[in-house]
Structures are given as C-alpha cells and as structure tokens.
Symmetry: C2
Subunit: 252 residues, 2 copies
Amino acid sequence: MIKVSIIGTGNVAYHLAKEFEHSENVELIEIISRSTINNDKFLSNKQSTNLSFPKDADVYIIAVSDSAIEEVAQDLKTQNKLVVHTSGGTELHVLHHHDRKGAFYPLQTFSKLKKVNFSEIPICIEAENENDYKLLEALGLSISNNINRINSKQRKALHVAAVFVCNFVNHLYAIGQEICNQNKVDFKLLQPLILETANKILELSPIDAQTGPAKRNDTQTIAAHLNFLTNENQSLLYKTLTQSIIDYGKKL
Amino acid sequence: MIKVSIIGTGNVAYHLAKEFEHSENVELIEIISRSTINNDKFLSNKQSTNLSFPKDADVYIIAVSDSAIEEVAQDLKTQNKLVVHTSGGTELHVLHHHDRKGAFYPLQTFSKLKKVNFSEIPICIEAENENDYKLLEALGLSISNNINRINSKQRKALHVAAVFVCNFVNHLYAIGQEICNQNKVDFKLLQPLILETANKILELSPIDAQTGPAKRNDTQTIAAHLNFLTNENQSLLYKTLTQSIIDYGKKL
C-alpha cells in the first residue's frame, strides 16, 4: 500500500485524488491546500491547510500552478520523503528543499466538469534514483497502464507540443464556432469532422493526413476564404497557418 | 430507386461511389472521369470517360476539384436532369449550363486509405426548388442520418470553419510531431490528449474547454516555451495563437 498526500485543489489534484481514492494499492492520506479549505465537499474529511505538519506519507504530490510549486515545496515540511510535482514545464530543482524529488506528469487536459478515462493517460515519470523511480512507477500503475520514463528536457518538449495539439487546437475549435455563429450555422455540424480529424492520426501520420486548400496550394480558394472572413484576427490566423502549411510542404 | 452518376475519381467521388454501391435505394449508373480511366480497379466496369453522352441518371454528382467544376459541368451533356456539385466553397451558378442544380456537400475529411462511418457525416444540401431538394434529401438519407438544408452562404461559412477545425488543426498535430521528433519523444504519447481535446467539445463549448498558459495569461510559461522553441516557424505560430487566445479572453 503506497501512502500518498496531495498538495493542491485544482483540476489535476482533484482528478488524481479521485483516482487514488478508488485504487486498491494506494491510500490517500491527506489533501493539503495552502489557504482556506475548498468549499468543495469532495473528500472534505481529508482536507488540511497545514503544510508545516503534514501527515506521514510515502509520496507527496504537489499539484499546484507552476509558479507556486517552489514556494509550496519550501513550506512543505517533510524529511527524507519523496516529493514530486505534476508539471510538464517545471524542472526538478524547484524542489531543492527536499532530498528526494521527482516528477509525476499526467499528460492530459483536465476540467473538473469532464470525466476522463485515467487508465489510458500517459504518466511521465522522472526521479533521481532507481528506488524512487520504482515507487513512482508503482504509483502510476495503480491508476494507468501507460507509464513512461521521461527526462526533464523530454517532458518540457511534451509540454510545449501539448500546447500545440491541445490548447491551440481547442482555440481553433473556438474560431470555428465563432464563424458558425456569425453565419447562423449550427457548430454541431462540425463535430464529426473534428472527431475524424483527431482519429485519423491514430492511423496516418499528421503529414500524410493533411488535406485542404493550403496543402494543395489552391490560391483561388485561399483568396475566397480570406475574402469571406471579416474579422481581422481570423484573417491573421488563416494567413499564418496557411503559409506554415505551404512552407511545410516545400520542406518535405 | 434513385439512379446516380458520379463525375470524378478523387477521394469524395471514391467514398460516395462506395456508399451508393452498398445502398439499397440507389443505383450507381456510371463513374465518369474526364481523362484516362483511373488505374484503380474499383468499379472499373462502371467507369467511362464520355461526358458528352452520359448514361441516363436522376442525379449527376460532380465531385471534382473546385476549379474544375465549371468546365466539367459545361462538358456534361444532360437535359432537364439534376446536376449537383459536392464543394463547400463553390456557388451554384458555376452549374449555369444546367436547368436544375444543387449542392450535395458531405462535411468530412476524406483520405482513400482511411475508412469513414458515413452514417454520421453531415450532408449539406441545397437545391433551387422543393422537388429537387426532396430528391437530394432522399439520396442523402440513403447513406447518412445527418441531412441538413444549408444555403450557399452558410455552406461557405462551414467550409471556412472546416479549414480551421480540420486542416489547421491537423497542421498543429504535425507541428506537435515535429517537436517530439526533435526531442526524441514518441508522438504517440500525445494521442490520448489529442482525442480528449476533440471529445471534450461534445460536452463543453470550446470556450469553456480552453486551458493552458495563454488562457491563464501565464507569461512566465509562455516565455519559457518560446525560449525552448528553436524553429522560427514554430515560434511564429506559438506567438500568433497565444496572442489570439489572450485577445479572445478579453472579449468575453
């Protein structure tokens, strides 16, 4: 039984706590937040605000915003315990107040309102010695089948790539919805296309899956689309992405 | 039984022909291409190059590249027959050589190598009179449950929006893969994130689903990411999309 404490009450902390609570191999000891306890009734009996005297656990998971990790790690008073953060873009040295440190980065987008199937989520693990790695691996395997040994530089690359394939992609969905709204078309009509575009890359590499006027360098359609767009921001995105696809095609 | 002829041998023509061939309510009469017959053995007994003397059908579907539609429509010699194109971005008047015209636009991305579930594909239909609309509706219902009456302006909006949520999105997948390759990380690690990002918008609007450093205006992470990217094109896309997300947030 691995004893775990979670520090934080955001989306990642919430989803990890839920998963550990349902795992047979993990005992969730405590959920610590810095300030007042969350109003959320979820696991309220385990909530604490005391970083100075945390309960005894095998692993302390700091799941707070990147900019707060170092301060929280400093305030967390433990000795010779494994302390990890869950951040894609943060180096291990921000945990320098602790002898044993690591990263436990679940590569997924979390919203409190949306359930996720944790068993398929890649968990990217880094530790400074083999025993701590094994401990984090066992912890990861208690909630996912997709555990990966990833160093700091690779984790950072994944984090940046994730911004492209998740945050930026979602913003393009928002632009698509904006264009639909402006022209009184139901955005739902685009849902099958959105799902197929995502599913396609399970079978084809994105480069082989590329279609559309930019890929064909179809200047007539590109001009017609730019003429159709009335919003300056939409036009700028259209031009920048179209040029990138054209340039990309030349490189291949 | 609706008798259909398809003009064209590209991805849309191929997938439509396959679906109609398996439909009980449609008889696929002929597949006409302008030049030499495709090497493809698919339905080779139905292939023809003769646009001047097409076999008798109820609907002629021109599924060729946008820039070729008008010329093909002119060469297609029929009288008092319904002639439609399958293009999102093309007006009906390019079919002006024909008395009865319409659009039959399947809103999906097609690759010959990738199977699609046609029954969920939105088919956007336009016709100039109610009888022709009913005929196209029946034709659409023979292969899909998702038939929509869409006028030319709405179809154009959908086509532009589709470029954002499909072509541009796929290009961002390609950039994500490029970043992974440059840093020796397996792109497969991003697949669950890509699928979840797409699936999320079935439950949340893209605006509510937005996450990431740009959404939080987390200037420290944004600077770190820009510092990490070594490729000028990646940096330009990162900056442009980040600024768009920040500006979008201010408008809400």
